[in-house]
């Protein structure tokens, strides 16, 4: 079929479809894809975008998926209704893998028609259009992408003005670039209008469901949270997919955390490696800073010796793990919830860590804010475990609320308080909550001085190898960890009354919500609890006790979270059934539904 004969027999889908765009990495397509996504958003239709990119600067294939959903579902869908194929290397395979009935827009010279007869083809002469609309040949490769935005706007009934607005936002302040790209959108739109006669079955109809919403990625959301949390030391080392958290934070700090005379109320240092990042976080936390780092799995492995020191000698610090597909280099640009185990018990010996699992943009912001309070309250390394899907993809969100709560700087004795007590014992459990009092280096008077060490110590911080001192110390650390139960975020419950349940966490949330709804429509009512932190709180206990069967949905091979549940709830171990997803792609609802149906 040719472009002037789109099949009218396709299912009409309004504000409910997925588009996949195949391009070459480094060709500037990301801007075009974001403009398209934002245009749909500005039309008032809930939208989500997934960039499936290679570990490469330029030349390898990349795919971007945009999902519009009137119902507000934002998870990746396994099926697409429309393909835009710009990459000659993958075009044939993309066609072969396409879902039946898919509308395929492609660069005309690729000549894809005839590969399959159950698809609808729409060849577009991109080179011809770009030559006509863009006078600068060296920009053609980049500008071509904006032409498919114009073509798509026509096909989907997206008002071109919205695309132009989106460009202006995306390329803020770059007048020349805006002008060239707007011309390309108009050229694409005009070409489609003149050459595509039949209406497309996919439509965007203006709605009001995105009113007041923002679009942000999780790394930026967390960066904003850290800035408001008063982070004072950021020690980091670049690693995908965590780098953009630090980079975004640096931008925000420069903008909003300087004094009027231009001095910094923060220190940022790009360390020589992740070991050094962890060391600087601990050094700074020990000396009283709100300190943090950002990393991913391989970085956590490198930091694990220091994290044990931080745990054992009780030093606050915030460790963001924006997880990717491991082990080793793994798939560095793909997502995974594969570091559950390592973050729960990072380091040698007996260690237990407070973990936060943000599940959406607001939580990326709020948990970042809260993590500093928890680190200082419990004097220990805190993990904020995000992943590539949350951290680097664009998500629609309600705007963030200002965190009114003042900072909790924890149990720190100042000079005055130190002078009033009889004896300062750094590791004594004065309040019977496992949390001792600390003093900051440099506090005048000298009464608070103590020696921090990773070796065995008694409650006065003196070196000790006595069995009773060691046992008292590690038992208190365990008590301290469990006393965090009443401080960490409680789980979110969705649905009640069923004797079977789903437990999931983090980036799985959108797919699980959609799966839960779908299972409901199929007559399989199932409750859902979204876990948000370690240690498990009493609400988690209750949920587990109340169910006969619990599907633990997680994005790794070994069911790491299910393992933590079985360990924590041995009497309920038989209830836990793992639903696993670990191919590097973001989780989709249909796979969850299929697996639950097959396992029940």
């Amino acid at each position: 079929m040719s472009s002037d004969a789109l099949s009218p027999s396709l299912d009409v889908r309004v504000n409910d479809f997925s588009i996949q765009i195949a391009t070459v990495n480094g060709s500037g397509s990301q801007t075009a894809n974001n403009v398209l996504m934002r245009s749909i958003f500005q039309m008032g239709v809930p939208v989500s975008g997934k960039n499936l990119f290679p570990s490469n600067i330029a030349g390898l294939p990349t795919w971007f998926t945009i999902r519009a959903s009137a119902q507000g579902y934002t998870a990746r869908r396994a099926t697409n209704e429309m393909l835009i194929l710009m990459n000659p290397e993958t075009a044939k395979e993309d066609v072969q893998k396409a879902d039946g009935g898919c509308l395929v827009i492609y660069d005309e010279p690729l000549k894809l028609e005839g590969l399959r007869n159950d698809l609808v083809y729409c060849p577009v002469p991109f080179q011809k259009i770009v030559t006509a609309c863009c006078p600068e040949p060296k920009l053609h490769k980049l500008v071509k992408n904006m032409i498919y935005v114009g073509v798509t706007c026509f096909l989907l009934n997206i008002e071109p003005e919205e695309a132009k607005k989106a460009i202006a936002k995306q390329l803020k302040g770059k007048a020349k670039a805006i002008e060239i790209n707007v011309a390309a959108i108009e050229a694409g739109f005009l070409w489609a209008k003149e050459n595509i006669k039949n209406p497309s079955p996919l439509k965007v109809v203006r709605d009001n469901k995105t009113l007041g919403k923002i679009i942000v990625d999780g790394n930026e959301a967390s960066a904003i949270g850290c800035m408001f949390a008063g982070v004072t030391v950021l020690a980091w080392y670049p690693i995908t997919p965590a780098s953009s958290l630090s980079e975004s934070l640096i931008d925000y700090l420069e903008e909003y955390r300087k004094t009027p005379d231009g001095k910094s109320t923060y220190a940022v240092v790009q360390m020589e490696d992740e070991l050094a990042s962890a060391g600087a976080v601990l050094g700074a936390g020990w000396a009283g800073a709100r300190s943090m780092t950002t990393t991913s799995g391989p970085g956590i492995s490198l930091m694990s010796e220091f994290i044990g020191l931080g745990y054992f000698s009780e030093i606050p610090g915030v460790f963001f793990n924006v997880a990717r597909t491991g082990p080793s280099t793994g798939l560095p640009t793909r997502t995974m919830q594969g570091d559950i185990d390592i973050c729960a018990k990072c380091s040698h010996g007996d260690t237990l860590h407070i973990n936060l699992y943000p599940g959406n943009m607001q939580e990326c912001f709020e948990f970042a804010y809260q993590s500093f309070d928890l680190a200082e309250r419990f004097q220990t390394p805190i993990f904020v475990v995000s992943d590539l899907d949350l951290g680097m993809q664009n998500w629609m969100s309600d705007p963030f609320s200002y965190p009114d709560k003042p900072y909790d700087r924890g149990k720190v004795l100042n000079q005055q308080q130190l002078s009033e007590i009889k004896e300062f014992a750094r590791y004594r459990d004065v309040d019977n909550d496992g949390i001792p009092y600390r003093s900051l280096p440099g506090t005048p008077g000298g009464k608070g001085a103590y020696f921090t060490r990773g070796s065995g110590h008694n409650d006065r911080a003196l070196y000790s190898e006595k069995p009773e001192d060691y046992v008292a110390l590690v038992d208190r650390l365990k008590r301290k960890y469990y006393s965090a139960k009443s401080f960490v975020p409680k789980p979110i419950l969705r649905g009640n009354g069923s004797d079977s349940g789903i437990i999931a966490f983090g980036s799985s949330d959108p797919a699980v919500i959609e799966a839960q709804d779908e299972l409901g429509r199929m007559g399989r009512k199932v409750d859902y609890m979204r876990l948000r932190a370690l240690p498990f709180t009493s609400e988690v206990d209750e949920f587990i006790k109340s169910k006969k069967m619990i599907y633990v949905v997680e994005q790794n091979r070994d069911g790491q979270m299910a393992g933590l549940f079985k360990e924590a709830y041995p009497a309920d171990a038989a209830k836990f059934i793992s639903i696993l997803h670990y191919n590097g792609l973001a989780l989709d609802a249909q796979s969850i539904v299929n697996e639950i149906v097959s396992k029940s």
Binding site: T232, V233, T265, G283, P406, G446, F451, R453, G454
Partner: protein, 348 residues
């Protein structure tokens, strides 16, 4: 060697009204005669003489015999015995958090030249304000005598292994990395150590002080190039001092600008080429040349070898506010609700 000052009826006070006793720490648990204790003693002397406020001191160390010593001085200071070789990053963090701290790092040749070489290099590159002492004996003491990266080529271990690799020299490395205060001393030379440490306390930025401090327990056997006997039999390189028994060391005074053979009570001999106390070699190339030439003549060049004052330390480079970051309050750290509204607006 004891940290306690010599007994007298009224111990003298410094300008802070403190006696040397106020600068001591816990009792040393190192081997009797260990050179590290002599360094500790000089740290106490230098700090007392320099009127250092010990409550502002952060004592930082890694792992090893040397790294234990911060427990043996300045009871009123905060100490941090970190992980093996990674103290420089801890110091970097602590320094950024509180720019008023006076940082003293104590490390060893294993800690700084092997496992921690990378961190040391980057700390120097950043010019983190710290007096960084490498207590250098060429062996791992705490794990019972394995070679370190400063061991001399050809030296022999207690159980027969011969070191076939060239040593890494901390001082030429530090100069190469742009360090603005590079010194080498010897734990048997208290006067010189004292002068160097006082100068280091006065210096802003990273000062690297390599102090050769022989291991009396693991490098004193007959087959070691560092044993007393071997030195006696051969004219050994001056930087191979680990063999010397230290129990009876005498104070060594070395005239400036000339070479001198120094005899120890046990008869071992070393030659020092010392530099004038006012010597101010700001030419890194010339300093490196002198050190290397000296080494090739089996001399151990000690003193303040290279100095280049005036480079801004890391906290200045970061343009930090005057108040320590650690004590900034909510007012200073938390932007207003208007800022959040502005950011949210930009994301709509």
């Amino acid at each position: 060697m004891s940290n306690a000052p010599t007994a007298s009826s009224v111990p003298p006070s410094n300008k802070l009204g403190l006696t040397k006793q106020d600068y001591v720490g816990s009792k040393s648990t190192l081997c009797a005669g260990c050179g590290h204790d002599s360094i500790t003693a000089q740290l106490i002397n230098a700090a007392w003489e320099m009127n250092i406020d010990a409550t502002r001191v952060a004592k930082l160390s890694g792992i090893g015999c040397s790294s234990k010593t911060p427990a043996y001085f300045f009871n009123q200071a905060w100490g941090f015995n970190a992980v093996h070789g990674r103290m420089p990053s801890v110091a970097t963090g602590a320094s950024m958090a509180n720019r008023n701290l006076i940082n003293i790092g104590v490390s060893g040749d294993g800690d700084s030249m092997s496992i921690g070489l990378g961190q040391l290099c980057h700390m120097i590159r950043r010019n983190v304000p710290i007096v960084y002492i490498i207590e250098d004996n060429g062996v791992y003491g705490l794990t019972k005598g394995q070679f370190s990266a400063t061991a001399d080529k050809g030296s022999v271990l207690k159980y027969g292994s011969i070191n076939s690799l060239e040593p890494i020299d901390p001082v030429t490395l530090a100069i190469e990395l742009g360090c603005g205060f590079v010194a080498r001393s010897f734990s048997g030379n208290p006067k010189q150590m004292n002068a160097i440490l006082k100068a280091a306390f006065a210096y802003e930025g990273t000062s690297i002080i390599d102090i050769v401090s022989p291991c009396v327990t693991f490098n004193n056997h007959d087959s070691s190039t560092k044993s007393y006997k071997n030195i006696k039999d051969h004219e050994m390189p001056l930087h191979e001092l680990g063999f010397v028994a230290f129990n009876e060391l005498e104070n060594v005074e070395i005239p400036a600008g000339e070479s001198k053979t120094v005899s120890f009570p046990d008869g071992s001999k070393v030659t020092f080429r010392n530099i004038h106390e006012n010597y101010d070699p700001t030419d890194a190339v010339a300093a490196t040349k002198l050190i290397k030439e000296s080494l090739s003549k089996n001399e151990l060049l000690t003193g303040l070898l290279y100095i280049r004052p005036g480079s801004p330390d890391f906290n200045k480079v970061l343009n930090l506010v005057d108040e320590p970051l650690a004590t900034l309050d909510l007012q200073a750290l938390k932007p207003s609700p208007q800022v959040l509204s502005e950011i949210m607006e930009s994301l709509t």
